[in-house]
Amino acid sequence: MRTSTGARAGQYVALLAYLVFLAFPLLWLISTAFKSPRELGSLHPTWIPRHPTLANFRQAFDEQPLLHAALNSLLAALGAALIAVVIATPMAWVMARRRTLLARAATGWVVVSQAFPFVLVIIPLFLVLKNLRLIDSLAGLVLVYVVWSLPFALWMLVGYVRAVPPELEEAAAVDGAGRLRTLVSVTAPLLAPGIVATALFAFVTAWNEFFFALVLLKTPEKQTLPVVLTHFIGAEGVADLGPLAAAAFLAILPSLIVFALIQRRITGGMLTGAVKS
């Protein structure tokens, strides 16, 4: 389409403004992470550290059990992602292929659960997990994360299932394959890329989660990375900026890598989900 040069220039100026708004806090975080304590105390901070140093990273690891917390986060996120896709994929298939009451109720739950107020859920959840003796344990947290990531996982997977032509499954059924055989050997392989994307998304959601972890985990050795990160901020709100920035920078690397891998699939999954339902 024709666009005048003036309009084009305006578009580029606007795009540049967006780039600055989106990028500057991140760049500043990285810059701060590599500055020495003396430079952080100086009156006029600069974008490029004058004497880049790794001292903040060393100090961050000394002050808080970051590695241990990262391991906890990793276990919780991996467990949640694996369980979520294993139980969500069959359900998504039913929701996509059947028009039963059950499938409709499940779709309704997916929508309504987006509006769930966490306050109303967290207190009973706390009590239920306490009765199941799963409070203050990673296993309990994993269960909560599974349920919590299910709505979006189902939403994405239903889109992917709909993209698989039902004729393929029918053909397998005609050839004498049972329903489950068909599902496992025909549908699942075709869904594989979508399942991987969904698992990665559930992984990032769990890796980033804070509220449930804050409420459900009390023992310091069991806490996940986001909870431990808040320990860098003192009771009075005073924080040692260097180590804080260094630890925060390290904490986003895994999810950034995962997101780089699935960026296209997430937008794609949202597209199919939005269009087809």
């Binding site: 500043w28 107020p117 306050v119 890796w207 960026q263």
Partner: protein, 311 residues
């Protein structure tokens, strides 16, 4: 219970028609159960349990049995001025974040839908906040807002706009400052949703309108917006809910301070439940939050949908 596949099944299978429908249902239940049980135990159950709790005097770590107290919690809540102040802040926050978020995301989505250089970079950056833990977003902006080592005050100083201030601990600037962070953090979901909506608008219509000599604004109003409306409504409604329920960002940025100026209802209820142990009272707060938000949302959606019929 008939489904498309059943109707289309080839007639050669007709002899075995006796019980496929029943095996069908068994299979469906078998497939759904692994997900259904956790959903019932950890999502639907707790929600109902939470509503019941609001009518009890449940407290943490108490030995005496919990008792029904009817609407007492709600009567107390009605006179709890601190809660309503927090509620007001929550509404200001939710609307203050959602509206700019929508306008900014719409602008960005329109730009990303154009054939511009650097589009890939903007696309990638627009997704980044989504990949970051909210705790890290909060920490990052604390460093930006830091009165001494922060880039904001330094930039203002360099531009000759004064010496800046302590944004997060000043009574007047704390709420606007956290709202800016909320807008930044929520850009990806909104942009992605709107971009998806834009890519579904019919290109031919757009070109036809351009040929007819419609300007950019008219093309947007007559072609783009009608197609985008459903997506825009859905994402705005969701944003309102998500933002009203937001917790981690403000917990890290200000923890509700200074003087309660940024104490969102979620922070308030969290403290009530897990610092003071008033489970029943906090559950009542949750109920009130859900009820008010549902009503507001219903009014918003009905109003918008009706507006659509007029135009």
């Amino acid at each position: 219970m008939t489904s498309v596949t059943e109707v289309r099944r080839p007639s050669s299978r007709a002899p075995s028609r006796g019980h496929p429908r029943r095996t069908h249902d068994h299979a469906a239940w078998f497939l759904v159960l692994p997900a259904l049980i956790p959903i019932l135990v950890l999502s639907v159950g707790p929600l109902l349990y939470g509503v019941l709790l609001a009518f009890t005097d449940s407290q943490s770590g108490r030995t005496a049995p919990t008792q029904w107290i009817g609407g007492l919690n709600f009567r107390d809540l009605l006179h709890d001025t601190l809660f309503w102040e927090s509620f007001r802040i929550g509404l200001v926050w939710a609307v203050g974040v959602t509206v700019p978020q929508f306008l900014l995301a719409l602008g960005l989505a329109l730009l990303l839908n154009q054939d511009l250089r650097l589009r890939w970079l903007a696309r990638a950056l627009a997704i980044v906040p989504w990949a970051m833990p909210e705790v890290v977003v909060g920490i990052m902006w604390r460093i930006v807002y830091n009165p001494d080592a922060g880039i904001l005050n330094e930039t203002l100083h360099n531009l000759g706009l004064g010496n800046g201030r302590d944004w997060l601990s000043s009574l007047t600037t704390a709420l606007p400052a956290v709202i800016v962070v909320g807008v930044w953090a929520g850009m990806p979901q909104t942009t992605v949703a709107l971009l998806a909506g834009l890519q579904n608008t019919p290109r031919e219509l757009h070109e036809a309108a351009a040929v007819d000599g419609a300007g950019a604004w008219r093309r947007f109003r007559t072609v783009t917006w009608p197609a985008l409306r459903p997506v825009a409504l859905a994402i705005t409604a969701l944003n309102l809910i998500w933002n009203f329920n937001s917790f981690a960002l403000v917990y890290v940025l200000t923890n509700g301070g200074p003087g309660g100026r940024t104490r969102l209802p979620m922070l308030f209820a969290y403290e009530e439940a897990f610092r003071y142990g008033q489970f029943g009272y906090a559950a009542a707060m949750g109920c009130v939050m859900v009820a008010v938000i549902s009503v507001l949302l219903a009014v918003f959606l009905v109003g918008r949908l009706r507006g659509g019929d007029d135009s």
